[in-house]
Amino acid sequence: MNALQQEIAQLIIDTLNLEDVAVDDIPPDQPLFGEGLGLDSVDALELALALQKRYDIRIASDSKDARQHFTTVASLAAFVQAQQDACKS
């Protein structure tokens, strides 16, 4: 798990108040929704707002991409990274 992935896992735990979950309990490739961590659509909205505040990123509305970004910690980290790179250039 790289630094950004760890940071995002921690952000998920803090935002959603997952008291009995540690960063190591969320492997980067584990699905966040349904079977995996068991998050739901409201959690996703909460998470999106927290990501927006922390990383100053925009997430497009109806795109299927938006849903894909939220699949795992790894995909979220890749998305944040890509957004930040896009802002720098």
């Binding site: 959603l16 108040n17 997952l18 739901d40 659509s41 409201v42 959690d43 996703a44 909205l45 909460e46 999106a48 707002l49 927006q52 925009r58 997430i59 497009a60 509305s61 109806d62 938006a66």
Partner: protein
């Protein structure tokens, strides 16, 4: 979902379109004839609706008998006359809404009941504070949001609406001379919408949203007790408040003794839930909101302008959060 059936029944498809038509007609009439001449004409139109709309009559009668039963006031028991008076109250309401839109109803004419100083917070948020949420109701005159914009002295007020006629309503608002409030269509809470609303709150803008109508394409609803019977209320406003972690206030505008009264009540200092208890928390908020609404119905019993079957969705299993 059986779309056809829902379409036939749901308020957002027929009631709003009908009322938009009536609104346009009224707007045109007021411009051409003036309110004094238009009033009897509008009464005739409403009389026609009263005679022809059996379902609406039945729904209002149901509301009135639930209110009488719940409050224990037999004077509120429905009769043909009392149902008719509620239709006439709607005609008056339409005329008043036009006055509001045209800016004829000045803030000085409205009595403000604001014991805890919601208005001063509204004005303060102009100076760099966070925005808040106003949950409005279709009891009385919800269009006082227009007057609220004036109350707030330039604090941007975003009115969130469900229906697809936003563009038409905005045009009508423009025609009627109203440019100070912004309508935003929210069909569902998605990430982009939430991010936009969150930025507005951070900028100190306020959001107004109806708390008493369940949108067509949003399954997020909660069934609570309202006037002694189970009724579905939207979860949307409360989810939004919890996600934005902002205060929630209730806004209601009733005509009491011929004069409008804006009632502002703080409801939640900061909407927040524990994740495991989210549904239960929201359910409790909505029940408290429904109880508050029921009390306000007693202040203006004939100003309940939900003409569709309000208690229809109260079958078991409708209380589905996801």
């Amino acid at each position: 979902m059986n779309e056809q059936v829902v379409h036939e029944r749901h308020w957002s498809t027929h009631k709003e379109r009908g009322s938009l038509f009536l609104m346009r007609l009224t707007a045109f009439g007021v411009r051409v004839l003036g309110r004094r001449i238009l009033t009897p004409v509008l009464y005739l139109i409403v009389l026609y609706f009263f005679v022809s709309a059996r379902t609406a009559r039945r729904n209002i009668r149901q509301y009135q008998s639930y209110l009488a039963e719940w409050s224990g006031r037999s004077s509120l028991n429905p009769s043909l006359g009392s149902v008719y008076r509620q239709f006439i109250a709607f005609a008056d309401n339409l005329l008043d809404r036009l006055d509001v839109w045209r800016g004829y109803l000045r803030f000085e004419q409205v009595q403000l009941v604001d014991p805890s100083g919601v208005r001063s917070r509204l004005i303060r948020s102009h100076l760099g504070g966070r925005g808040e949420i106003l949950v409005v109701t279709h009891l009385g005159n919800p269009d006082v949001c227009r007057a609220m914009a004036e109350l707030g002295e330039q604090v941007p007020l975003n009115v969130l609406v469900h229906n697809r006629h936003v563009a038409q309503f905005n045009r009508l608002l423009g025609e009627a001379g109203d440019k100070s409030m912004r309508l935003i269509q929210v069909s569902e809470l998605d990430t982009a919408m939430m991010m936009d609303l969150s930025q507005r709150i951070e900028r100190g803008e306020w959001l107004a949203i109806a708390g008493d109508r369940v949108p067509l394409h949003d399954g997020r609803r909660v069934v609570v007790d309202f006037l002694g019977h189970a009724a579905a209320f939207p979860q949307g406003p409360w989810l939004m408040a919890g996600l934005l972690r902002c205060p929630v206030n209730l806004l209601c505008c009733l005509k009491v003794d011929g004069r409008y009264r804006i009632i502002l009540d703080p409801f939640l200092d900061k909407a927040q839930w524990e994740r495991g208890k989210r549904d239960a928390t929201i359910q409790a908020w909505i029940q408290r909101y429904a109880d508050h609404l029921a009390q306000q119905c007693l202040m203006a019993p004939r100003q309940w302008f939900n003409f569709y079957a309000y208690w229809q969705s109260a079958e078991p299993g409708a209380n589905d959060a996801s």
